[in-house]
Every structure is written in structure tokens, then in C-alpha cells.
Amino acid sequence: MPVEDRQRVSDAPRATDGSEWEVFVRETSTDPMRHVGSVTAETWDIAYEQAATLFSFTAEDLWLCPADAVHRFTPSTLDEAATAAGD
């Protein structure tokens, strides 16, 4: 896909009570790490607890990343405040 077909999703907050944490799981050691959504929590350890209760039934590895550290580029045009990918 050409670079110009994507736009950068704005940094609008994704949570109001606490922060949003992107969750990644690997089901077996040879599986890829996979994004499985996000949880809302004040701190990483509470986020880990929450993600673990949801995904321990299947996940070996579990990673968390603060959602506001993730820059998202997409062809989706819903976000009114999105900017050109190169800006």
C-alpha cells in the first residue's frame, strides 16, 4: 500500500479513568506475538493482572505497551483529527 494511502490516527486519549494498555500474547513458544486488544488500568501491574485473567487460559507470553506510545497509521478515514502519515 502506498505510504500516502495511510493517515496517522490522532493522539486522542483512549481512556479517562487510568490509561489504556495494548495487550500482546504468544500462545506457544513458536507462535507469533499477537495483538489481542487493550485493557484500562492505572498502572502496568494492574494492567498485567487484568490481561492475565483474560488470557492466561491460552497465553504463554504476555506483553503490555502503553497505548499512547503506539503511533497508528491506517487507511481508515473515520478519525477527523488524523494527519497525513508523513507529517
Binding site: T16, E20, G37, T58, S76
Partner: protein, 404 residues
């Protein structure tokens, strides 16, 4: 959602497309099981609310949140939902009427082929606004009242909220809007249940939805006000009894129970005990097409910042955000192991659910409550209130149960 009036009194209410099971209960062509039915989508249009209710799942407050959708983004979202074939969009909040563009959004939803319905505390509905909403194509208004005046106003954090909500109901009825009550049953208001039905039935209201407490948002903080097993049995029995009494008097009110699929087993047992074996069989047959708790399957939620949730109460976990990709793409992403597990949860029943004769129509109840209490979404619903004999008459229910 389980329609008590349909199951016990045979009332075939007008198809408002609101019940998650509506497609399956229709006499019209059945939707094949293989085809994933499109969910009813609850859209929390704003965090802002003029009240501060104890059980609010959206943890609403008096101001909106950063990142809420503009009118134009809202319309793009509605386009997206319509393209995907979502049948119903439920405008919720916070309080959706604090959005000045609500009528515009409802109008747009109807134009693009969605069935717009509303969940509101009713206190901001004036005669003019009710008429505007009706003219815009609103198909239904569900208005929350959680007890008689004193109870409701305490619960909702504002004196006069009850009177304002009742006025809102009257304005909706005057505008010709199909209107119903939403009532979350807790220890605080269980004694008001019959009085509220009597009072509102007198105003002309004929649809009453009783919600079991969901353990999400502020609802989780007040789980200690939830009903005990004995109180829950009594409250559900009261809903059944009053529904039948109204119908016997020729007043065909519609009553529904929402949020706890142990109700399916209880109502079947009630029909057997209080009515006839034949009625119990009919009730069970209807419930077999119903499908148990709808989280992740027949209902979805999009919050005010665009995060997609498994239902409106389960706000702490999100599948993705509609600013990144379309709702349909998020909903149908079959790489998510939790969603896959929820959609085949019959295979994961545990404990007392494993020998329950109603497991096929309950499916273990609410995964959110199980998560809140047992840290495991696939554990039995802590609100299950069936007795061992009701649950597993052949074995006497050897597995532990709340009703023990």
C-alpha cells in the same frame, strides 16, 4: 433478554428488533446458525451525564471526555455500522441527551438503515425533544427509573430525578414513541418493583425491562447491594406473578428480564410448577433459540472514545478502536483467542454448569460477573440462583451452587 410476557402469557410484542433473540423468535425465515449474526451495537455517545448514578457502568460524570466523537465522526461511524449490516444502534451514554446533536445523529442512523433506539435517564426529555426524536425516526426509548421517588433519587444522586423521568416518559408516550422502563434490581429497590409497574402502567407505559446488576463500572463497586439468592428468586418470581396478573386482567404489558440467563432455567421451572408441564415445554423450546448471555456475540459496545467492547458493561477490556479500522473488521477478527473462546463457551463450562440441565440455554451466565468474582470469565455466574434440584434433578446437583 428474556421476555417473560411472551414465555408465560404468549404475548407477541411488536417486533422492535431490540431483543438480541428477536431474529430467532420470529416466524419469518430463520437466520442460519453458521452465519454470524450482526450484533446490536450500543454506542456510548458521551461520558457526560447530568446525574451520578450508583450503578453506572460507564462511570459517567458531569463533563464529556477528551476524544469523544464529533458529529461528523459519529456519522462516519453510523455509516460503518450500516455497511456492516448492524440491525440496531442503541444510543447510550453517559446521558445521550446531553449531546446537542443527538437528534441529528438519530436522524442520520435512520436514514442509513439502522434502527435507532435510545437508553436515557429521561430527565432531559422535554415535549419538544421527544417530538424531534420521534420525527427523526427513533424506534424506541428505554428510560431508567430505579425505584419509587425516594429510592430512585437517592440512587441517581439528585432530588427530583424521579419526577423528571416520569415526565420524560409521558412526553415520549405523547410523541407516539415506543417507550419502556429500565429497572436495575438491587436490595435498595426490590421492594418498589410492583409499585413502579403499577404507577407507570397507569401512565400508559407497557414495556418493563428488569436488569440484574452487572459487575462493570460503578456497578462493580456496589456489588454488595446485589440481591442474595433468596431475594433474587423472590424478585424474579414477582416479575412472573405480576406479568400473569396483569394479563389475566386484560392489560397486556410486556415484561423482560435482562442480564442473567439463570432466568431461563427459573422461568421454565416456574412454568412447570405454577402452570403446566406443557407450558414448561413450550417455554423451554422458545429459550432454546435464545442463546444465553450475548456478550461478544449478539451485542457489542463502542465507547465514547471509539473502543469496541464485548458488551456495554465490560468497559475494562477492548477489542480494538474504530478510529483504526472498521467495526466489522474488529468484530470478525478471529485471531482473538478470548473472543473465540466466548463464542464457543459451551465447551468451557465449569463447576455446577457442567451438569446443569439448562446449560444449553444459559451457557454459564455472565462472563463479566464471573471475571469480577472468580477472576475467570468461564467460571459459573456468581449470580446463578437455581437450586441443585432445579439445575440437575437426576443427580440432585452434586456440584456446588450458590443456592446451597
Amino acid at each position: 433478554m428474556i421476555s417473560v410476557s411472551k414465555l408465560l402469557c404468549g404475548l407477541d410484542a411488536e417486533g422492535d428488533g431490540l431483543r438480541y433473540d428477536a431474529a430467532n423468535e420470529s416466524d419469518k425465515e430463520q437466520i442460519s446458525e453458521k452465519k454470524q449474526r450482526r450484533p446490536v451495537v450500543v454506542w456510548n455517545t458521551t461520558r457526560g451525564c447530568n446525574l451520578y448514578c450508583e450503578h453506572c457502568y460507564a462511570s459517567a460524570c458531569d463533563s464529556g471526555a477528551d476524544g469523544e466523537f464529533s458529529t461528523r465522526e459519529g456519522k462516519r461511524l453510523l455509516d460503518d455500522l450500516a455497511d456492516y449490516g448492524v440491525p440496531v444502534v442503541l444510543f447510550s451514554g453517559g446521558e445521550p441527551l446531553v449531546r446537542s446533536d443527538l437528534v441529528d445523529l438519530v436522524d442520520y442512523a435512520a436514514d442509513v438503515g439502522l434502527r435507532p433506539v435510545l437508553s436515557t435517564n429521561g430527565t432531559l426529555i422535554t415535549a419538544e425533544r421527544a417530538q424531534q426524536l420521534a420525527d427523526a425516526g427513533l424506534a424506541y426509548a428505554g428510560i431508567s427509573v430505579d425505584g419509587m421517588a425516594e429510592t430512585n433519587d437517592h440512587f441517581r444522586g439528585q432530588d427530583g430525578a424521579f419526577d423528571a423521568a416520569v415526565r420524560g416518559i409521558e412526553h415520549c408516550l405523547d410523541a407516539g414513541l415506543k417507550t419502556g422502563l429500565r429497572y436495575t434490581i438491587t436490595q435498595h429497590n426490590r421492594d418498589d418493583l410492583r409499585d413502579i409497574v403499577d404507577l407507570l402502567a397507569d401512565t400508559g407505559l407497557d414495556r418493563f425491562c428488569f436488569y440484574h446488576l452487572a459487575y462493570g463500572g460503578r456497578g462493580a463497586d456496589i456489588s454488595d447491594t446485589d440481591l442474595s439468592t433468596a431475594e433474587r428468586r423472590e424478585a424474579v418470581r414477582e416479575v412472573c406473578d405480576l406479568t400473569r396478573a396483569y394479563h389475566e386482567d386484560g392489560h397486556e404489558i410486556e415484561t423482560l428480564l435482562v442480564g442473567n440467563y439463570a432466568d431461563a432455567g427459573y422461568i421454565t421451572e416456574y412454568a412447570r410448577r405454577e402452570m403446566s408441564e406443557e407450558r414448561a415445554r413450550t417455554v423451554r423450546r422458545y429459550l432454546e433459540t435464545n442463546g444465553g448471555d450475548p456478550a461478544g456475540e449478539r451485542v457489542a459496545d463502542i465507547d465514547y472514545q471509539g473502543n469496541v467492547h464485548l458488551n456495554q458493561f465490560w468497559q475494562s477490556y477492548s477489542l480494538g478502536n474504530v478510529r483504526d479500522r472498521s467495526f466489522g473488521a474488529i468484530w470478525e477478527d478471529d485471531s482473538n483467542p478470548l473472543v473465540n473462546a466466548l463464542r464457543s463457551r459451551d465447551d468451557r463450562l465449569q463447576g455446577r454448569c457442567t451438569d446443569c440441565q439448562y446449560a444449553d440455554i444459559c451457557k454459564g451466565g455472565s462472563p463479566l460477573r464471573s471475571l469480577a468474582i472468580h477472576d475467570d470469565p468461564f467460571a459459573p455466574d456468581p449470580q446463578c440462583y437455581l437450586t441443585p434440584d432445579e439445575r440437575a434433578p437426576d443427580t440432585g446437583g452434586l456440584q456446588p451452587t450458590n443456592a446451597d
